[in-house]
Symmetry: C3
Subunit: 322 residues, 3 copies
């Protein structure tokens, strides 16, 4: 018997081992196909929605574009078809198959889809303000086009605005798949439940976490590595649905690496949170918070010196930033 | 001569410049094809393995699925064929071509492949416990299905379990390609050498680094931005193979941004490491470690105030978390 | 009227809502196609350039490779064609359509493309040194091949070297699309304007930010989570083009999580910046900087203890590292 034949026989014997393993009744053993939303289709939906939000910026390789009206018609019908199918699958999954009225679910999926598409102009208006916030706020931005095509912060924020709309329409699973896709692409982890005001700017963004019950006001800037999170999740599933994450009021800037934690924590309007600050209680409006005891040790040959950078420095530490 | 023609001529002249540059004998000048494992094929293998680990969750666009048995047969044979080919290439690359017995290498590749596939039920059992850990530990998780389809922590952990099995079977290169693929998708950098116990949970995850010789016990939770690393790698290649990374015992929680460093460092069981703690020595079992001198400065108009958050706060600081 | 028909009618009605929304004259309402560089084509260009930089390492699924000379010819002509087209589009976008001489733009695009391709041997020479720096500096590296195929630091650095060459040739937009693609894949955010010396090594890398006007010398090592950034960008667009980011001299190591900020900040040669240090002013050559007041609190049952890890520890804190 050749090596190749014996290898194939070994593999065939292992198949039954795997098939047996699927008979253990765990969640990972569910074998029905198409019972879950399809993450590939949802990722394609995000790309298609970006072509609606930013027409002309992201090329469409599927349609031949003769004129805009035709193109948008095709694109919206495609989005409507796939989105309502995926919403249907997600809703059916929630109802546990018990007493599901497929027709009612189908109609609900279609209503959600039309409600969502009707929200696109409002979402586009927010995205346009986010674009201004990014361009106005970043000296490295050479043009607004550069921001649209290449900034991960605007990408993640736009996906959040789309996913948050579906989250508000009570769609399970799909909004989270959307924001985790953006998280994978950008390193920016915004839960679809997080509510974000107008003129929002994320710079760089890698490592940002914004939790499910966060509420963010208008004109807020957030830099890389910032966590807006819960104080403790040791309660696990018992905390499900509770407000566990902070409220950030208008005109707040949060510099790189800061952590703001807790459902009762409110950062008052017009505050500035310095880099790496760790905050677990509310802050009055108009406050500048900085880490005050950052001491460094400098060794140079045999000399050792301690220095508080904040004491002998003209630059106010609260404005440190990327 | 038209612009276009002169452009083509310039490019053709540059080709010889590039070809000459390949004659310098550097590692980057190796021109043989198929001498290295193919990262695209390995990435596809990961996706195929996910369809075996979570049947029914990740759609298969390659096969038409008539029934599960056929589908799994096709999938496993496909995995076996590609994995054994890639393992063969990786092993041949290690042997430097000197005295390579191709047939022996081929048989060894097939043995490794069957050994690996035989380990899948055990890996699936670990993944099922990781799934429970994620669902139980995260109040934002709406369902176990959501965790399977969208959580980057479970994704990176599952890839580590698969890659660690191949690492244990002495496969070069491929396990690292697998975990770096997961690192790229999730921002979670777990070396395939790291050994991870049961019921492991990573939340959010961006920025996590877990080094090659790390050993992690059962029921451990790790949040975003945690480093489990080496104290100094100034020794470079001389440290290759030494235990350079910590041991984390059972029932330990490590909150966001903490760093635990050094090959002799042991975090005793049932300990909690607070957010941003920086630890380079062993910790007794049952210890709660927190950063104790986190002082903030608050400026509000003309008032400046220093405050130690940990002194006037009811919330024990060690439980801070996203 | 069936549900399906009414659904399609609703969607068709919404189309006109979307089309109206495009008539508001905002930057997001530009409908012309092909007015912007195509990020998909640019991402493919990066992959093709990697096949030129590392021949034999990244398989080419487009061409059938009969021999190297043919393959490189095809690849370079393909790169030249697509790159010059994209550069043309980017340059035309900058000139605002006013008085554009298409032929002059075309010739300029072709000249830039040939200049860029002529720089590839020099870029390859830098990449070869970066490869040595990564292999020499990382005890986890099993081979140079592993570094080429799987290290995100080398990937991001190579993309920066390619993008920085185009940036130096005054190409708008495209260099930033290239580095943001690498940022998305690796979590390493290096602006194409940043200038990086020889023998550069990034380990792990997730969360690194290196700003536009940064200058980095030779033999520099940077770990995950390091920011080399601006002190304040409150000036927004008024700061465009100014030197806002530090200068790092030769032989400097910057450990995980450190921040170095400000356009006047110079880190003198042969310095070591410890993990999590926060630096906003210049450092003399040969200095080791560490965070000196890192105090931890340990609670164990009823015992509470404060401890300065740097006071009772043999390991010099400045060498902490992943």
């Amino acid at each position: 018997m050749s090596s190749n034949t014996s290898f194939r026989l070994s593999i065939q014997r292992l198949e039954s081992l795997i098939l047996e393993d699927y008979e253990k009744g765990r969640v990972i053993d569910r074998l029905e196909l198409f019972m879950q939303p399809d993450s590939h289709i949802i990722e394609e939906l995000i790309e298609k929605l970006f072509r609606v939000v930013f027409p002309g910026y992201f090329r469409d390789y599927t349609y031949r574009v003769y004129n805009l009206k035709n193109s948008i018609s095709n694109l919206l019908e495609d989005i409507a078809y796939h989105l309502s199918s995926q919403v249907f699958i997600a809703l059916r999954g929630m109802s546990d198959g018990a007493g599901t009225d497929e027709r009612a679910l189908r109609e609900r999926s279609e209503r959600i889809t039309t409600d969502f598409i009707a929200m696109l102009p409002e979402i586009r208006s927010s995205v346009d303000m986010d674009l201004s916030a990014a361009f106005d706020g970043d000296p490295a931005a050479a043009s607004r086009e550069e921001v649209i095509i290449s900034y991960p912060g605007l990408y993640a924020t736009t996906v959040n605005r789309l996913a948050h709309a579906l989250y508000g329409l009570q769609v399970p699973l799909i909004p989270r798949i959307m924001t985790e896709y953006a998280h994978g692409k950008t390193g920016i982890d915004i839960h679809p439940g997080a509510s974000i005001g107008k003129y929002f700017f994320i710079d760089h963004g890698t490592g940002i976490v914004i939790g499910e019950t966060t509420v963010i006001g208008n004109n807020v800037k957030i830099y890389q590595g910032v966590t807006i999170g819960a104080i403790s999740t040791r309660g696990g599933q018992r905390l499900h649905g509770q407000k566990r994450h902070p409220t950030i009021e208008d005109n707040v800037t949060i510099y790189a690496g800061a952590s703001i934690l807790g459902g009762d924590t409110v950062i008052g309007h017009d505050s500035i949170i310095g880099s790496n600050a760790f905050i677990t209680r509310s802050i009055e409006p108009g406050t500048r918070v900085s880490v005050s005891n950052r001491e460094l040790q400098f060794r140079n040959g045999h000399t050792t010196e301690q220095r508080h950078p904040s004491n002998d420095d003209d630059t106010p530490e609260w404005c440190y930033i990327i």
